[in-house]
């Protein structure tokens, strides 16, 4: 599809100009004109009072026979032989998609053991394609891309998912380029379109200011990366059985070489992503002392301390606590946001938490849009009260 303006109908009212997220509409001789910035998002079509903006079918070339492709694949990444937790989350959503499409779910595992493959089956995979070769043990883009592409060519899955991690985000694009198919980054929701059977891939764009639904209608597989902690894990079943298939690894080569792997994990970072409860503070705390309150509450819940970027930028708390687009993505059972406005860049990092409690003195703060429980009030009043009451309850037990 492409979008054009019918110059005969266009009255030059300029309504459409500001509707375009890509600045693709300009005025030429009193008429709207859509330039090369256009991404065919259709936002302008409904805005035009004259109905002068229309979508036209553009001829598509190089499409694949989409019907020949079946099955959902999850790339299960490992580091040091240990499968990353995002793989289990992908198996959760992968299972749903496979069931919707009435097809199988397979996991692809490179450079790990049969035991690790078995675990993927317990988490929902029907089949595991296991690549065992020294070159696959540490991550190098070329052999990973080479092997995954050839497996895809051989088995023709219709959907391929991977974690939006430094690994998945780095080599999946090579696979997409090689296979001449689409790849959608950082999806927050994946769903099968009931009418067409296509994968509807929802992702944030423009720093999370808007969400976009992306389609890959003419080529296969449809590939997406998904951030860790966005999808829920599926059912774990020790009894589940499946097939482990070792794949051929001849001819793999790499022009890059990992000389050394250095770990720099801080306990806090790990803590933040694994905590059931996170208490986060933002600029509303007023000063670094405010974090004393946050820490106290987090400790009472046995939870971790998070923060907005504004608090980090103010130097109140180290960067490793930052939640959001440029910080950590978290998905605890309870997320308590104190004095955080809820800018989109913060929301993308925490909005899939089960329960979100927002404490903010501004009733218009966008954080209330994602909150399960909202308290409009001064955090310096609310939080100490909350601490006091929880202490009393604990003391009374």
């Amino acid at each position: 599809m492409s979008v054009i303006v019918n110059p005969e109908k266009c009255q030059g009212c300029e309504e459409c100009l500001s509707s375009c997220p890509f600045e693709a509409i300009v005025m030429k001789e009193g008429k709207a004109y859509i330039n090369e910035y256009c991404e065919s998002c259709m936002a302008c079509i409904s805005v035009c009072p004259e109905g002068a903006i229309i979508e036209v079918e553009s001829e598509k070339t190089g499409g694949t026979d989409t019907g020949a492709y079946k099955g959902v694949w999850v790339f299960a990444e490992q580091r040091g032989g240990k499968v990353a937790s995002v793989a289990y989350e992908l198996l959760g959503i992968g299972r749903t998609l496979a069931d919707d499409r009435n097809t199988d779910l397979s996991a692809i595992l490179f450079g790990a053991s049969d035991a690790a493959a078995q675990e993927l089956i317990r988490w929902g995979a029907d089949k595991v394609y296991l690549g065992k070769h020294e070159i696959l043990e540490s991550f190098n883009d070329e052999p990973y891309a080479q092997l995954l592409s050839s497996l895809i060519k051989e088995h023709k899955p219709e959907i391929v998912l991977a974690g939006a991690t430094p690994i998945g985000r780095s080599f999946l694009p090579r696979v997409a380029a090689r296979l001449r198919t689409g790849l959608t980054a950082d999806c927050t929701s994946l769903e099968i379109d009931k009418d067409t059977g296509n994968l509807l891939q929802v992702r944030p764009a423009f720093g999370g200011n808007i969400m976009a639904t992306i389609l890959c209608p003419h080529t296969r597989p449809q590939m997406s990366t998904v951030r860790p902690r966005v999808m829920k894990r599926g059912q774990y079943n020790v009894e589940r059985s499946g097939e482990i298939r070792e794949v051929k690894t001849e001819g793999l080569a790499s022009r890059t070489k990992v000389l050394e792997t250095v770990k720099e994990v801080s306990d806090i970072a790990v803590n933040l992503q694994e905590a059931d409860i996170i208490v986060s503070g933002g600029r509303g705390l007023g000063d670094p002392k405010g974090f004393k309150l946050i820490e106290e509450l987090a400790e009472l819940f046995g939870g971790a301390v998070g923060s907005s970027r504004a608090a980090v930028d103010s130097g109140w708390i180290p960067y490793r606590h930052q939640v959001g687009q440029t910080g950590k993505t978290v998905c605890p059972k309870i997320y308590i946001a104190c004095g955080i406005s809820g800018a989109v860049q913060h929301l993308v990092g925490m909005q899939s938490s089960d329960i979100i409690i927002a404490i903010n003195k501004n009733p218009e703060a966008p954080i209330f849009n994602v909150a399960t429980y909202g308290i409009v009030g001064d955090l310096h009043e609310i939080v100490p009260l909350l601490i006091k009451r929880i202490r009393e309850m604990k003391g009374g037990q």
């Binding site: 599809m1 492409s2 500001s18 375009c20 997220p21 600045e23 090369e36 910035y37 256009c38 991404e39 259709m42 936002a43 805005v47 070339t61 190089g62 580091r79 991550f139 883009d141 070329e142 891309a145 430094p166 690994i167 780095s170 694009p173 090579r174 997409a176 090689r178 001449r180 689409g182 790849l183 980054a185 509807l200 423009f206 720093g207 200011n209 808007i210 969400m211 639904t213 992306i214 890959c216 209608p217 003419h218 022009r255 890059t256 000389l259 050394e260 792997t261 250095v262 770990k263 409690i357 994602v370 909150a371 399960t372 429980y373 308290i375 009260l385 909350l386 009451r389 929880i390 309850m393």
Partner: protein, 260 residues
């Protein structure tokens, strides 16, 4: 050492606001800037040149107004600037963008190609690795430190989830950089003067011998179906009353959910 830095002109997303009625972006008054990560890519290119000698070419694909971004890059110290602009490039997704950039890179020739980690409008982080694949050269993503540059090999630190990997690669190579790598310089006065007069090469489809079927909307496997703004949660409860009552109500809810 021939170095190419790929830069993109983007709207400053920090300034972008949403019109709550139409759910669309308000672009008025939002400045266009060089993608912040690409400034770090340019700085990296300039530093390599200063150490190892050579030239830095900045390359962008975009509408004619992207020339401004190229001039800014020249003001910072780039030697050459190329603008890829053609109606046929319209509506490119990352696949078509990478294809187009790779065609231009082949024409220019390079030992090292540097991209930003991601562009802040699309945030995909795909164009760098895809371009490397089209060029059939190795790439390294998320470079946070350059340890050594020799004519035939480079050694860098690649940022990973739990630390970093020390990675070595043969050249030619493409890498994408994160903010931690360096602090981009500001344009000098002399640089600004040079930039004003600098020649910007403008190339279209035929200049880079591109296959039309791989370009723009036609060459893009992905399509944007629609865009929308995130909505408020439907199960939201606002807890009313005095602070005491609000806190009490919250505890009640949490107890009901067995969270306490």
């Amino acid at each position: 050492m021939k170095i190419i830095v790929c830069i993109k002109q983007v709207p400053d997303t920090a300034e972008v606001k949403i019109n709550p009625e139409t759910g669309t972006l308000i672009r008025e008054g939002v400045p266009s800037i060089i993608n912040p990560f690409d400034l770090h890519a340019l700085e990296a290119g300039l530093q390599i040149k200063e150490k190892a000698g050579g030239t830095v070419t900045v390359l962008t694909m975009g509408p004619p107004q992207a020339e401004t971004a190229l001039r800014e890059a020249v003001a910072m110290g780039a030697d050459e600037a190329v603008l890829l602009s053609d109606r046929a490039f319209a509506g490119s997704d990352t696949w078509a963008t990478s294809y187009t950039l790779s065609k231009a890179i082949q024409k220019i020739g390079a030992d090292v190609i540097i991209c930003g980690k991601q562009a802040i409008d699309g945030d995909t982080a795909q164009v760098g690795p895809e371009t490397a694949e089209f060029l059939n050269i190795p790439h390294i993503s998320y470079v946070r430190k350059i340890e050594a540059v020799a004519p035939d090999a480079i050694k860098v630190q690649r940022m990973m989830d739990e630390g970093y990997d020390l990675v070595e690669s043969s050249t030619p190579v493409l890498f994408t950089v994160v903010k931690e790598l360096n602090e981009p310089r500001l344009p000098s006065l002399k640089g600004k003067m040079t930039a004003k007069k600098a020649e910007i090469k403008k190339w279209g489809m035929s200049d880079i011998q591109a296959d039309e079927n791989n370009l723009g909307l036609k060459g893009s496997p992905t399509q944007v179906k629609n865009i929308f703004t995130p909505e408020a949660r439907s199960d939201r409860k606002m807890l009313e009353g005095t602070p005491d009552e609000q806190v009490e109500a919250l505890l009640q809810e949490l107890r009901g959910l067995k969270c306490l």
